[in-house]
Structure formats: structure tokens, C-alpha cells
Subunit: 157 residues, 2 copies
């Protein structure tokens, strides 16, 4: 489906900034970005969009279900396109690499726990932090460090 149609389906007027942000998210090879990452990425490709607009649009996308917002350690929000189904995250504290996974057993147990506690679940986040194989073995990760910097918390950047 075209970005244009995606926006329409989400009930959002198809404006230039929204189109640019959405198609950037769809074409980038970095799945998890902060608002500022998005802003800079657009700047790099010659698109001038105000930072405030980026924040606004990302929040609108979140409410529309187009993107997912994450609160990894470190405080700032990280966004990813909501294209694949639900999954959870493994974050390397050394290089910032993010591995995604889905574990049926975990999801089922979560439902069970919520049910037993009388909760009606809306959503959940499971973040696991550690050190990836690459960083342990040869101190270098398979993916571009610089680009992923935003996932690491401030003290480590």
C-alpha cells in the first residue's frame, strides 16, 4: 500500500511532512529511531522538516497505530514502523544493536498472568539488555554504530 493510502486509512490528511516521514521510515534500514534521528535523517536527504513537526507527526503516527514508541533505558523515546507484527527487543548495551524476537511461550504466560491478576491488557513491553556476540568476541558489531547511537543512553554516547 502507498504511504498516501496508509495515511488516509489512518485518518490523517496526506501532507508533505507526513508522507516524507512515513516513506523514510519505510525505506530506511534503521528500524529504531528517536525523533531527532528521524529529523536528521530527513535533513541528510535534503528534506527540511521542523523538529517540532517530527515530534507531532510521530505521536500522531503512534496514536494511529502506524508506529510503535519504545522507552528503552536512557529515557528518550524510540520509534519503529509498526509493519511486522508484535515483537520484543534485545538491546546490546555496548553497540546499541537491537535484536527483535517473538516468543510464543512468553506471550502466552503474559496473558495468563494478566488474567489471574484481573487485568485487561492493553499492551506490554519486554526489553532485555546485554552484550551481543560481536562485541564480546571482537569488539565490533555487524551494524553501523554511528547510526544507532541514539539507542544507547546518554552516559554511553
Amino acid at each position: 500500500m502507498s504511504s498516501n493510502a496508509e495515511l488516509k486509512k489512518a485518518g490523517l490528511k496526506t501532507t508533505l511532512p507526513r508522507l516524507k516521514i512515513l516513506s523514510m521510515l519505510e525505506s530506511t534500514n534503521i528500524r529504531h529511531m528517536t525523533a531527532e534521528d528521524v529529523y536528521k535523517s530527513l535533513l541528510d536527504s535534503g528534506e527540511e522538516i521542523g523538529l517540532a513537526t517530527v515530534y507531532r507527526v510521530l505521536t500522531q503516527f503512534e496514536n494511529a497505530g502506524l508506529v510503535i514508541r519504545h522507552n528503552f533505558e536512557g529515557g528518550r523515546s524510540v520509534f519503529e514502523l509498526n509493519d511486522e507484527g508484535h515483537h520484543d527487543h534485545l538491546v546490546c548495551m555496548e553497540c546499541g544493536e537491537v535484536f527483535e524476537f517473538y516468543d510464543k511461550a512468553i506471550e502466552e504466560r503474559q496473558r495468563k498472568v494478566a488474567e489471574e491478576s484481573g487485568f485487561v491488557l492493553d499492551n506490554h513491553s519486554l526489553y532485555m539488555y546485554g552484550v551481543c556476540e560481536g562485541m564480546r568476541n571482537n569488539g565490533k558489531c555487524s551494524i553501523n554504530k554511528k547510526k544507532l547511537s541514539s539507542v544507547l543512553n546518554t552516559s554511553k554516547r
Copy 2:
């Protein structure tokens, strides 16, 4: 063990502010508090401690393993005493109530997933968000709302 000894064991000089914060955390019936909650709670009991000191001390406690920092939805850090063992959290988005749970199966699957991905795990956080039974049934929760306000994100307060 006395708060005094706890600090010593953690390698922290036993100062008045640290003692007050630690013993407050040990005696309060609110397990999850923001830095400002801690600050105000101390003020209420007549203890004057600078907010910056509260932030500093909580971070020191975190590094020493005395407290755990949480990043629930909404952005701000929430702290709890690291006295019981590890557990995960169910947060009610209506009233802010926090339920704690521990699920062996989930923990085991997490270890498995990490291992398979080549990660050496350091820690993890599993937060589930929903609506608790009390809020669904009669719109009122079993615990003091005002005191828990800090757990809810800004837009809902």
C-alpha cells in the same frame, strides 16, 4: 540489617541524606516512587533534602544495587527498593496501581532467547499495561490514588 550497614556494604559513606532516603524507602508503603515523590515524601516528614541530592543519591543507590530504576510509559524514572528478588510489573493505566509478579516460565524463556541470540544478559524489564479489576468494576482502586499519581504519565494526571 541497619540502613547504616547497608550503605557501608554498598561502599557509600553514611551521610544523613543517604540514611534518610534509604530508611524512608524501607519504611514507606509506596513501593514505586519518582525522585520527586521521594523528595516530597521527605519534606512531608520534616526532612529538608535538596532535590538534586535526591536525584544523585537515587542514582548512586541504583549503581550500588540498592534500588531498581524503572522506565514506565510516560518517560520519568521510577525507583523501588531492591529488597525482594527480581519481579516484573503490571501497571493500571487508569489508577496507576502497580502489581508485581514473577513468572518462572517467562524468565526461563528469556534466558533461552538471549542465549540463542548470542547475548549475555545483564537485565531486563517487562512492563504490562492495562486496566485493573477495580477500575473496570466500580471505577475505584484499592489503593490511594493521589500517592500513586507519579506512576501515570503526564497526559493522564
